[in-house]
Amino acid sequence: MIELILADRCTDCGTCIEVCPANVIDPGQAGLPVLARVEDCQTCFLCELYCQADAIYVAPDCDRRVDVNVEEVVASGRLGQYRKHSGWDEWADRFPNEQWLMETVFRRAGEAAAQPKGAPLDVIERK
């Protein structure tokens, strides 16, 4: 569930309020967005993807609240990691969308399952 919006990074653009499909975030009195209904969070990480300020941290835990230490999260480099690996915005040229590899993986897994145990696995056909 969403655990943090970092006040010193947030630019108050309002995007997370708009894009959160579960309506978890409200505009705050003091400007910055507030986590109004964390219990409704569906742990989809999409608010992170849309936050260009990398100000949001969603914990992977969907059925329990966890303590999140702000300094640790900032130091971990995980803020903005999803947006980066997805090649969004300024990362567009650095991280290609390789979703197309999925079917190759499944196909080769099926073939590997049909092979005797211990046979070498080679997923992407090498040329």
């Binding site: 894009v19 990480f45 992977p60 835990d61 090649g87 197309w100 590899l101 040329k127």
Partner: protein, 533 residues
């Protein structure tokens, strides 16, 4: 339903689309292309809502050339669908997907594989839905985000003429939309499991269709489950194609990759916790996992787990009708329902005819969501052309149910928890028995009585809870009627397939749930539609 306050927002449209996931977005596009004035209302945000948005749908994709390839794909699917699929419908969605998906290239950057070929079939969810939103807007469609539809509105002749809902980021302001035709694309439901992206999908489209008089089909097929790291929503399966599983004592479990794996996993989970390691994932995939599915490694990373070295606990989340197949019965690929003016698309519709009795996840579902969206949008635009809107504003009748008795506080949270308790446990919904289903039916019946008698009906939570409960009741009743095992429906007391039961089961009813075999001569709604327009 409660009478509308004076400040109600009022809008007219030719076609109104309920839900802005994959199916709704394609439906809005095609209706607009057919010349209709289109409004799309989503409970959340069109672009991030729905189960496509957080995942990465691979579409059923078979090029037309050589024709034998499609014939083979369809023949395979008809066979694996165990008597419930129909070849003609499969050809239609294969063809439509092939034609339509590449047209999104203006807004979606399709991947190019290592050989330099464009790959259309496998798209990444967030980018796909972002592109669909842009496409929808480019066609002049009005999108109402955070505007859950609460009920359908009928004209005096019974045809559907609009919807009523609430603007939840605008102080809960009520809105009413009068429309020439309505497409329901509100998705399926996982009965609030933690299936990725499914939390806002509470089966609202099923409830609304039933209130209008439409039937469901295939509701017994809700016993689909998907693996995820325990306590996470990450029900994305690719990395598990090479998984190794262990019991609590560290002994490796015999769970080979293949069709029975979920069943075996569920049995193992009934015995105790199950752990998993992904060390067998080939190195060249490990190195690229974050650019294939960026949200998959993120979960491990945040927990400090190295999935290629450590063993992590796994669970199975219920897929309900999402990777299951039940939904509103459709009379043709246009998504025509038994109710004039009402169309359905995507997971809101039954997918038996395209998927058969097995899960449509992984390929057929998204091809159906796309194609049925395109077909339904076009058909709705056609019907709307014959309807004069803006004239019946005061003659539209709300179809949402009313409390049967005195309104009093009903504990909706408790009812939701009870629905989950009947629909998620393996011993109730996966390994079914007549006795267990009867007990579930009794429990759900009691809840329905409480809700239907006393719950005030105007809030989002009350509508969602009613939808979850109604859908669970249809599912349980239909599962209890099918005295055999077929595809996703597994009865421990009837373990084999009964060749005489290769028919589809319809269900419906709110206060009185009914189940009936789908007759060979289904009455088609098309004639009625013409009469209504």
């Amino acid at each position: 339903m409660a009478s509308s306050p004076p400040e109600e927002l009022s809008i007219n449209a030719d076609v109104l689309i309920v839900g802005g996931g994959m199916a709704g977005a394609w439906a809005a596009t095609s209706a607009a292309q057919a010349g209709a004035k289109v409004v799309l209302a989503d409970k959340g945000y069109c672009g991030t809502s729905g189960v496509t948005a957080a995942a990465g749908p691979g579409h059923w994709w078979v090029p037309p050339d050589p024709p034998a390839a499609r014939d083979a794909a369809v023949a395979n699917r008809v066979a694996s669908g165990l008597g419930l699929g129909e070849a003609e419908w499969m050809y239609r969605i294969l063809d439509q997907t092939w034609r339509t998906l590449p047209t999104l290239a203006r807004y979606y950057k399709f991947g190019v594989d290592d050989e330099g070929r464009v790959n259309y079939r496998a798209v990444r969810g967030p980018e796909y839905m972002r592109a669909l939103r842009q496409q929808v807007l480019s066609h002049g469609v009005t999108i109402l985000d955070h505007s859950p539809v609460l009920e359908l509105l009928a004209r005096s002749d019974g045809s559907i003429g609009g919807v009523r809902g609430q603007r939840r980021q605008d102080g809960g302001r009520a809105y009413q939309i009068e429309a020439g035709a309505v497409v329901l694309a509100a998705g399926g439901t996982s009965f609030l499991s933690h299936l990725l992206g499914s939390w806002t999908n509470t089966g609202d489209g099923y409830l609304m269709a039933a209130e209008a008089g439409a039937e469901m089909s295939g509701m017994e097929f809700t016993a689909a489950y998907t693996i995820a790291p325990a306590h996470s929503t990450m029900t994305r399966t690719m990395a598990y194609a090479f998984a190794t599983y262990y019991d609590a004592d560290g002994h490796e479990l015999d769970l080979p990759f293949g069709p029975d794996q979920t069943i075996r996993l569920a049995r193992a989970l009934q015995r105790g916790p199950v752990y998993c390691s992904l060390h067998r994932l080939p190195d060249n995939i490990k190195a690229r996992l974050h650019t294939i599915s960026p949200n998959v490694p993120l979960v491990f990373d945040r927990w400090g787990i190295d999935p290629y070295r450590d063993r992590f606990e796994i669970t199975l989340h219920n897929d309900g009708t999402i990777r299951g197949i039940g939904g509103v019965r459709v009379h043709d690929v246009d998504g025509t329902t038994s109710v004039p003016g009402l169309f359905v698309a995507g997971d809101n519709a039954s997918r038996e005819k395209v998927a058969g009795a097995i899960s449509g996840g992984g390929n057929v579902n998204s091809a159906w969501a796309l194609s049925s969206g395109v077909f339904a949008g076009r058909a709705a635009a056609r019907v709307a052309r014959g309807v004069k809107t803006g004239t019946s504003r005061f003659r539209l009748l709300g179809l949402g149910r009313e409390p049967r008795r005195r309104v009093q506080t009903v504990d909706l949270t408790a009812i939701r928890a009870s629905v989950r308790a009947e629909m998620h446990p393996f011993d109730k919904n996966l390994f079914r028995t007549g006795k267990g289903l009867a007990a579930s039916a009794r429990a759900l019946e009691g809840l329905w009585t409480e809700l239907a008698d006393h719950d005030h009906t105007g809030t989002i939570a009350s509508r969602e809870t009613a939808a979850l409960l109604a859908t669970a009741r249809w599912s349980v009743a239909t599962a209890a009627t099918r005295n055999e095992s077929r595809g996703l429906h597994r009865r421990e007391d009837f373990p084999s397939l009964d060749p005489r039961s290769a028919n589809r089961l319809l269900s419906g009813g709110l206060d009185q749930v009914w189940v009936a075999a789908d007759g060979p001569s289904a009455t088609t709604g098309t004639g009625q539609l013409e009469a209504a327009s």
